[in-house]
């Protein structure tokens, strides 16, 4: 036995890690989480209890209506009569109509392709790591509208022509809101720049345009387009209702987007403009390289707000006889074969759910975008 050995025997030396102690009760664990987040103050505790009571009061009824007593299958209204909950059989029977409207059955693959292209354009846009962002944007802003227009209307390349009166449902909602967004963003930027321009003609045109479109309700614009316009045109001369709605919605939304962007432009300090000038940049270079990248980033919430309200406003095309998602759901309430006490509620809940999915998606995308572009402005 060596000296060294004797020494180590004498002293205590730890050969393995001690098991970690549990963290103090006060900083973790479900109880602490509850105490911190739900019962931090007496007011919080009261609010939490009230909220829980409300959930306990409302949830069973909602679940019973939407799930347990709901009717999932059925051929017509007789399935949904009696003491039942939601009539999902109605949504199931009408689902293709809610998506495609009255688009001819054998041509619906064309709509499917457009939906697929839209998803194929949007998904990589939402993934920060995906490459080719610039081409992706060109695809979404330019290629997709043109390809969709050719595919959906047909009449060329051996495709049968499908008149827009047959379009409906989610298809119309997406077409109107997508064209509205794609047209109103660039147009809105130009109008916002125009309103701050030093050239009087440009400035007054922009002010006039914005104030005119912002000053009238969208309903009035659509009514004018559908009721007044035909009276001014020569008899028998019609133009497409969908096109009227598209132009109305796009111009209307441009005015709103323009004002949102102008807010962003005003937030950029004068020093930025002067610095750009000092570097010898021209007007468009200054705007493109210095001012707009900062201004647009600031107003992302406002822009997305405008686009979400645009998506929901598409429902107003109902009043000119076009059937967007909500319109076609409501139209189908008039089918006597499905008229039951539960049909309207079920249909509206379905429409609300679809709208919510799209609006929530847009909202999440904008939040992601804000985080990604947040270069040192976090407060």
């Amino acid at each position: 036995m060596s000296d060294l050995q004797a020494q180590t025997d004498l002293y205590f030396v730890r050969r393995e890690l001690a098991p970690p102690e549990p963290p103090p009760e006060r900083t973790s664990g479900p109880v602490t989480w509850l105490r911190k987040n739900l019962f931090a103050t007496p007011t919080d505790a009261v609010m939490t209890i009230l909220a829980l009571l409300f959930v306990a009061y409302a949830l069973p009824g909602i679940l019973e209506w939407a799930l347990f007593k709901a009717v999932w299958d059925g051929a017509d209204r007789t399935a949904c009569l009696g003491d039942v909950g939601a009539c999902w059989a109605f949504v199931k029977a009408k689902f293709p109509q809610f998506i495609y409207g009255r688009y001819p059955l054998e041509e619906r693959w064309r709509v499917d392709i457009v939906f697929f292209l839209l998803a194929a354009g949007l998904i990589p846009m939402a993934i920060p790591a995906a490459p080719w962002k610039r081409f992706n944007l060109i695809f979404l802003m330019l290629v997709l509208p043109v390809v969709s227009f050719l595919l959906l209307t047909g009449g060329a390349f051996g495709l049968e022509e499908v008149e827009t009166a047959l379009w409906g449902g989610l298809l119309v909602t997406l077409v109107v809101s997508y064209i509205g967004i794609v047209v109103s963003l660039p147009l809105g930027i130009l109008l916002a720049l125009g309103r701050r321009s030093d050239l009087p003609a440009v400035r007054f045109f922009s002010i006039g345009f914005i104030e005119l479109w912002r000053g009238v309700p969208l309903i009035t614009v659509l009514f004018m387009a559908s009721v007044m316009l035909p009276l001014f045109l020569p008899a028998g001369m019609n133009f497409n209702k969908l096109l009227r709605a598209l132009i109305g919605v796009a111009l209307f939304s441009s005015a709103y987007v323009a004002e949102v962007i102008r807010g962003g432009l005003q937030a950029i300090p004068k020093g930025q403009y002067e610095a750009a000038r000092a570097l010898g940049l021209g007007y468009w270079q200054m705007m493109r390289l210095i001012v707009l990248p900062q201004a647009l980033k600031l107003v992302i919430p406002g822009i997305v707000n405008s686009f979400i309200s645009l998506l929901k406003d598409t429902s107003l095309v109902y009043i000119i006889g076009l059937f967007d998602l909500l319109g076609i759901v409501r139209l189908n309430f008039s089918d006597a074969n499905w008229a039951t006490p539960e049909t309207p509620a079920t249909g509206l809940v379905f429409a609300a759910l679809v709208f919510w999915i799209f609006c929530f998606g847009m909202s999440r995308y904008s939040q992601g975008l804000e985080r990604r572009l947040n270069t040192g402005h976090k407060r």
Binding site: Y100, V146, I189, A235, N238, G321
Partner: protein, 349 residues
């Protein structure tokens, strides 16, 4: 995404309004006027103004095809012209835009439960081609109220939609009969209906066809009944532009042909056999004798085409709103004159 926009990006953004402008130019259709029948024949289909959804009269089925009483009238006119009831396109029109659409030529004929009134007939530049459905304002009550006539409704609370002729008719009726009532008014039709369903008033009043449609959405339809009194006249019919007599005749006589066919027992099933009938009236109706079809610019077998396509008036009624449909509306005033109603087809001769 905004920061990455290059110079190209800007040009492209501006260019996106180009397809819009192009579409504007392409969307402008060719002008059409005067001889509607020739125009319809030339374009190959009938453009029919329809309702934006009214149970039994114009509503989409599961596949999205328009069905209903008014819709079948559109198909009948198309069948008379083309021999094919499917050569029709529908323009759903709201109450506000329906007359404009007809006046401007956006639709060829308006068959959209439109009430025939003097001012509409005389001052809008339009003509009513007949009455395909005699509607009128009625009352619905709970059976357990023990009321069997509207005259017993004195002191009742009545759910009614405000701002409509319905509300005015109601006031007129009770004043004329020296009765009291409590109007419970609502802005929207569905609010009115659900208020009645939840028991906030004793009776509900609107057009009789609407009462039957409302009954479908009630929790227990069997507990309610429609009272026999009809307190207003709402004759609904197809409308055409004034000043085109040939087209007016086509629509008017399509209506009469449907009535005559029912009266003579010509149905969708037996129309081919009926062609060999000895009855001179049937022979004239079906174009075996005479050239009545050619006289109004159609083929002589126009009625055969109509009946093959959609059936006679009775069949259209039964299929869409009659007792074999969910609405279960009785024929009532809309029965043929031979059955106690007032539907009367002028003779073909």
């Amino acid at each position: 995404m905004f920061g990455q926009l290059g110079k190209q990006g800007w040009l492209i953004m501006k260019a996106t309004s180009l397809p819009l402008a192009l579409g504007l130019v392409l969307g402008l259709g060719a002008a059409a006027h005067a001889a509607t029948l020739d125009d319809v024949k030339a374009k190959g289909f009938l453009q029919c103004g329809a309702n934006t959804g009214l149970p039994g009269f114009a509503a989409p089925d599961n596949a999205g095809n328009w069905t209903g009483f008014d819709v079948d009238y559109c198909r009948a006119v198309a069948a008379a012209i083309f021999g094919d009831p499917s050569k029709v396109k529908f323009t759903p029109l709201s109450a506000k835009e329906r007359f404009t659409a007809l006046q401007s030529g956006e639709v060829d004929v308006l068959i959209r439960n439109t009430t025939w009134t003097m001012s509409r007939d005389t001052s809008l530049g339009l003509k009513f081609a007949g009455v395909n459905y005699y509607d009128g304002q009625g009352f619905m009550v709970r059976k357990d109220l023990g009321v069997s006539s509207a005259l017993e409704l004195s002191g009742a609370s009545i759910c009614v939609q405000t701002g409509t002729t319905t509300e005015l008719n109601l006031a007129d009726y009770f004043r004329a009969n020296k009765m009291d009532y409590n109007p419970v008014v609502f802005e929207k039709l569905d609010e009115t209906n659900s208020a009645y369903d939840s028991g906030r008033c004793d009776a509900l009043t609107t057009d009789a066809s609407g009462l039957y449609a409302t009954r479908l959405t009630m929790k227990s339809p069997g507990d309610h009944m429609v009272l026999p009194e009809i307190i207003s006249k709402e004759p609904l019919g197809p409308v055409v532009r004034q000043g085109d007599d040939q087209w007016f005749n086509v629509v008017k006589w399509t209506h009469f042909a449907l009535l005559d066919a029912e009266e003579l027992g010509v149905t969708q099933a037996n129309v081919e056999e009926m062609k060999t009938s000895d009855n001179p009236e049937i022979k004239r109706l079906l174009g075996v004798d005479g050239t009545f079809g050619q006289a109004i610019g159609l083929s002589n077998d126009w009625v055969v085409n109509i009946i093959k396509g959609v059936g006679n008036y009775g069949e259209i009624f039964e299929r869409n709103i009659g007792t074999s449909s969910p609405l279960e509306i009785e024929r009532g005033l809309n029965a043929l004159w031979t059955d106690g109603g007032i539907q009367y087809g002028m003779p073909v001769r």
